[in-house]
């Protein structure tokens, strides 16, 4: 069952619980990965500053250098500085570690981002990436001049599949003729492959590429910038956070599909400080909660397209449209379009 963190968020003011401490463990990307770790840390920092907490004692992060660090890092925070009240594990890779440590420490609360752990003292935070991806798919589908659009994924995981299928569904909803070229780099850190894939997709006529590939996406931006500089009219749609800067100075970022991990982290921290840990719940952030969506920067998107985006946003929030997450759901979705 899905329930959203509405109740907690309303009661943000007032009595700060004495000695509340919150911390997070990053995955190997570290807090400056320009992705969800960074976003999470930004949320935690905002929370810390707003509530007058002390960095490194009341709120802090630990970075993992390899996968085997997740568990000891979580365990360290359970005991460190007298023990943290709420500990975030950032990223689906930490699912198992959070599950184990939570089981061993029933008196500490945990939260996991991007995955679900069913335990009384764990709050799961997931995002409806397919919803946001659907909207940028609408943008791409309407704006393509060549009827060819690219999608570049990092690893072919269930998570990234949500981006892909939501995106394709968005494209097809507004432009059934458009063709989406999909390619996975097999890595989130291979800029050269990202560039080569973008080269191949643009070379085959694509004019907009949506990437969900971490640092591999750097190569996508680079390729687009190169082409833009030569006069080609190509675009990139960024991911996770506003990637406007990655497209500068050639200004190739059409928009970005942002995932407000910061908001989610900040929100849950607030709730927890006020005594509502949402233990055992799965907080799903979608369009409705502004958990996903288009970034602030979308100057290049004409108004009529933005209007369409808003229409679809409403439909999704209403439940009239349910963007697909998996390949199978996408197939059904396509069939329903006809």
């Amino acid at each position: 069952g899905s329930s959203n963190g509405d109740d907690g968020s309303k009661s943000s003011g007032g009595d700060k619980k004495k000695g509340f401490k919150v911390a997070m463990v990053t995955d190997t990307g570290g807090v400056n990965d320009k992705s969800f770790n960074q976003s999470a840390w930004e949320g935690l920092q905002k929370f810390g500053k707003d509530n007058g907490l002390k960095l490194n004692t009341d709120y802090k992060y630990l970075q993992s250098n390899q996968a085997s660090d997740y568990e000891p890092n979580l365990n360290t925070l359970v005991h460190n500085n007298g023990g943290y009240n709420l500990i975030f594990g950032i990223g689906y890779l930490m699912e198992d570690a959070v599950k184990k440590v939570a089981a061993a420490n029933p008196n500490t609360h945990f939260a996991i981002v991007d995955d679900v752990v069913n335990a009384k003292n764990v709050t799961s935070i997931t995002f409806k990436e397919e919803q946001g991806s659907f909207l940028v798919g609408v943008v791409a589908g309407m704006m393509t001049k060549t009827n060819k659009i690219g999608f570049v994924g990092g690893e072919k995981s269930a998570l990234i599949k949500k981006f892909e299928n939501g995106f394709k569904a968005g494209v097809k909803s507004v432009n059934p003729k458009a063709d989406v070229l999909v390619q996975y780099a097999g890595s989130f850190s291979a800029a050269d492959k990202g560039q080569a894939i973008a080269n191949s997709q643009y070379g085959q006529g694509a004019d907009i590429i949506y990437h969900a590939a971490g640092a591999t996406g750097n190569g996508v931006f680079n390729e687009a910038q190169n082409r833009k500089k030569k006069g080609d009219n190509v675009w990139v749609i960024g991911v996770d956070r506003d990637q406007y800067d990655a497209g500068m100075p050639e200004d190739v970022t059409l928009t970005s599909m942002v995932k407000r991990v910061d908001n989610a982290v900040e929100q849950l921290s607030k709730d927890a400080m006020n005594g509502n840990y949402h233990g055992g719940e799965n907080l799903q952030y979608g369009l409705k909660d502004n958990g996903v969506g288009l970034s602030e920067h979308h100057d290049h998107i004409p108004d009529n397209v933005m209007k369409k985006v808003d229409d679809y946003k409403k439909k999704i929030i209403n439940g009239d449209i349910k963007p697909p997450q998996t390949d199978a759901e996408y197939k059904d979705f396509l069939a329903s379009l006809k």
Partner: protein, 321 residues
């Protein structure tokens, strides 16, 4: 897609991704030809990539504009050479096991650069993006030539030409100049060179320093043409691929270039493969591993045995028999 369309996509892309490998492999050739094994190419590329990013940003900051990445390449080459001197001191002067020292270089480069990035950019794990890259261009006039124009003169960065020209230059230097003859002699038979008054240590220092310069250049080129910023994972395995290219190319600059281009080509082919209808049905893992399998097959099939420079890896001790 027609074959030509495929090639127009594959070849420029192959050349682009091969460029850093070519440069670094050329560095490897210098070092190993002088008799110093260089497993540290990965580390040298990391240093180069770091410097490439940081100095481009710095130069942009002080208003050098489009010249920034070019100047950064220069700095990367210099710092790369300086950093490689650690390997030189260890393996030449202190007669270290060269493999160990190379491994240390790799560890050290990664540790230091990530440490410094954090110090320089307020705790960030990576540098900001650079604004001025070295872009792919269509070479004026030449790109209009039918067939070869679109393949070799379109969508290509000048750094690629520099790398290819450098391969020929290195070949010329190694095989046609007295410096090259002396460098190779030191890698083959240092005692012989010594008796002819050639300063073995100095030649080896030069060989290693050149490998540092070229490795640094390779890493920096990767950043200014491909990655556009630097982080811990920016260089992950490229140095080892360059090492493989050098061996694949039998310690010959042109061979190393060919091998690097082959790697690039295999990768581009595997990428475009997913868009070619007849290859599309192949599970993508086959395409992912294709470049590596092809390399092994090529080595086993027709390249075969390659002999390293004879004294490569052996510290030279004057008067020892």
């Amino acid at each position: 897609m027609t074959i030509m369309e495929i090639l127009e996509i594959v070849i420029p892309s192959a050349i682009l991704s091969a460029t850093p490998l070519i440069l670094t492999a050329l560095g490897g050739v210098f070092s190993e030809r002088s008799g110093v094994v260089n497993i540290g190419l990965e580390g040298l590329m990391i240093i180069g990539a770091f410097i490439g990013a940081v100095f481009t940003i710095l130069f942009e900051h002080i208003g050098l504009g489009a010249a920034s990445p070019w100047l950064a390449l220069l700095v990367a080459a210099i710092i790369g050479a300086a950093f490689s001197l650690l390997h030189a001191v260890a393996s030449i002067t202190f007669r270290a096991d060269q493999v160990v020292s190379g491994v240390a270089i790799n560890f050290l480069a990664l540790g230091i650069t990530v440490f410094l990035v954090k110090k320089l950019f307020a705790g960030s794990g990576q540098t900001p993006y650079i604004d001025h890259r070295i872009n792919k261009i269509d070479v004026p006039l030449l790109h209009d030539i039918p067939i070869i124009g679109p393949l070799f003169f379109s969508n290509i960065a000048y750094t690629s030409y520099i790398a290819i020209i450098l391969a020929f230059v290195v070949w010329y230097v190694l095989f046609k100049t007295s410096f090259g003859l002396r460098l190779r002699s030191v890698g083959e038979h240092p005692a012989a060179a010594d008796t002819l008054g050639i300063n073995v240590s100095r030649m080896r220092y030069l060989g290693v320093a050149l490998s540092g310069a070229l490795g640094g250049l390779g890493g920096a080129v990767y950043v200014v043409t491909i990655a556009t910023n630097f982080g811990a994972t920016t260089i992950s395995g490229e140095g080892y691929l360059a090492l493989a290219a050098m061996i694949f190319g039998k310690w010959n600059p042109l061979g190393a270039m060919g091998a690097a281009l082959f790697f690039g080509f295999a990768q581009s082919l595997s990428i475009i493969g997913e868009s070619i209808p007849f290859l599309k049905s192949i599970p993508d893992v086959y395409l992912l591993i294709a470049p590596y399998v092809l390399t092994i097959l090529a080595l086993a099939g027709f390249v075969g045995r390659a002999d390293a420079p004879k004294a490569s890896g052996v510290p030279y001790i004057k008067g020892q028999r």
